[in-house]
């Protein structure tokens, strides 16, 4: 049965939408409807590299990441689920190739320690204790946080969604949003491919399609979509514990608990569009990068490559707020590739925002920051 009335319509069945749905329902909000064009985690969530990192360079990100990791660590109790999210905490090893980068890592670690993130600087030789086959040529130093890690994005999303359903949330899959109805400056409903849902509140958690959803409400949201490619190898018995990552060499690579290596890098000159096809160029470049950094991988077979779409904001930091132009229009967009790892904390923050309660934490994630020129400058992103 189509539900035709809702207290809020959440647009997008990715990890952000599902986390919001779960948190809102947990706090007692009734008649929540989540609409998803395809199926849960079919967009960026299901295509991401699945890493969870706490080693950030801004207080805000350190806080959100630490908070999120705490939730991931206690996910079964927190979300009341039987689903195993396959959390693996074997650390992130961040590689520095210049003195400037080393300086930055040291500054970052200072901030990270304020939040109880157990990161530390390693000499190149020390990093061999963590990854014995790492190529340390040109390496100046590394930063390591042993509690960073990996979780399964499909399982996390499914756990949120199933718990939300148990709390009474209606999840409509294969349902496309066609328009957002307004009257006298207020939202009145959401037109979907399965009919109209009357509501006064909308949460735009549409990921790659956030800008298009904004347009339906007459808003010009400053986000765009960009293809990021990724590949995965055949599984082998575990040899690589941490996520190995370099900002300047532009690569990330991790072995999942299942045994396969997942890796990618930030693209250049991609343009703003919704392309998610794979390229031969990526396959070749990735192979060069990965085997230079981790030489034993040469013998390993790549079994699949795919791409996802980052939703990128001007400062590559999330936009989580209510629109100032249109009351009742909430957004959790522009995660710029970090939505999965931040989803637990963002779900909580959104809940307070939507329930009009005091924000649970003091962060600058509103849309107004760009006009106020208070953009967040996070130094540590791929």
């Amino acid at each position: 049965m189509m539900k035709n009335k809702a207290s809020i319509v959440i647009i997008g069945g990715g990890v952000i939408g599902c986390s919001a749905a779960y948190n809102l329902s947990k706090r007692g909000l009734k008649d929540i409807v989540l609409v998803e064009k395809k199926f849960l985690a079919s967009g960026a969530t299901g295509r991401c590299g699945a890493g969870i990192r706490q080693q950030w360079g801004t207080r805000q990100n350190c806080f959100l990441a630490k908070k999120s990791m705490e939730i991931f660590e206690n996910f079964r109790d927190y979300v009341d689920t039987k689903i195993d999210i396959e959390l693996k905490q074997k650390g992130y090893l961040l590689l520095a190739y210049s003195d400037k980068e080393v300086d930055q890592f040291e500054k970052n670690i200072f901030i990270q320690h304020e939040y109880g993130i157990p990161s530390r600087i390693l000499e190149p030789e020390e990093s061999l204790e963590i990854v014995p086959f790492l190529n340390i040529e040109k390496l100046k130093a590394a930063a390591f946080c042993p509690t960073d890690g990996h979780a399964n994005p499909f399982h996390v999303t499914a756990a949120y969604a199933e718990a939300a359903k148990k709390n009474g949330v209606t999840i409509l899959k294969d349902t496309e949003v066609l328009g957002i109805n307004k009257s006298k400056g207020r939202i009145t409903g959401v037109e979907t491919s399965k009919g109209l849902i009357e509501t006064e509140k909308v949460l735009n958690a549409a990921g790659s399609w956030a800008r298009e959803i904004g347009k339906m409400a007459g808003l010009d949201l400053p986000v765009f979509s960009e293809r990021h490619e990724i590949l995965v190898t055949e599984p082998v018995n575990s040899i690589l514990d941490p996520m190995v990552m370099s900002f300047s060499y532009n690569i990330y690579c991790q072995q999942s608990p299942h045994g396969s290596f997942i890796m990618g890098y930030g693209p250049e000159n991609e343009g703003h569009n919704h392309r998610i096809n794979s390229s031969c160029n990526f396959l070749e470049n990735m192979s060069k990068k990965a085997t230079w950094l981790l030489p034993p991988l040469k013998k390993l077979r790549i079994v699949r490559q795919w791409a996802g779409s980052y939703n990128i904001s001007p400062d590559k930091q999330p936009i989580v707020c209510e629109s100032e132009e249109l009351a009742g229009f909430y957004m959790a967009i522009g995660f710029s590739g970090h939505g999965f790892m931040l989803s637990p904390a963002i779900g909580i923050y959104l809940t307070d925002l939507i329930l009009k309660e005091e924000p649970p934490f003091d962060i600058t994630v509103d849309l107004g920051r760009f006009e106020r020129r208070e953009t967040i400058s996070e130094p540590s992103v791929v």
Binding site: F133, E234, P235, V236, N237, P296, L297, K299, L300
Partner: protein, 102 residues
Amino acid sequence: MRIEKHPILTFERGKEIYFIFDGKRIKAFEGETIAAALHADGIIKYNTSPKLHRPRGLFCAVGHCSSCLMTVNGVPNTRICVTRAKEGMIVHSQNPRGDLND
């Protein structure tokens, strides 16, 4: 279990060679796949499956499924149904996944 005489076909077998499977010396003819040689020797259980530990053997024989993956000369996850046997090859069944040793 090699077919010596066939009413329609003639089998032109290559040179007799030997490889090692899990410590056992196996006869093969040049041009034969590892799987065919193991079969001729009566070895039909290849592996134990990674999660449920079920016995597995040959299945598709055309390199499409994952039933026959073995470590061949140190390279894990090699499909022995399409990999030709070579003199002196070292073949190992995998448990649970292959090892990527340097």
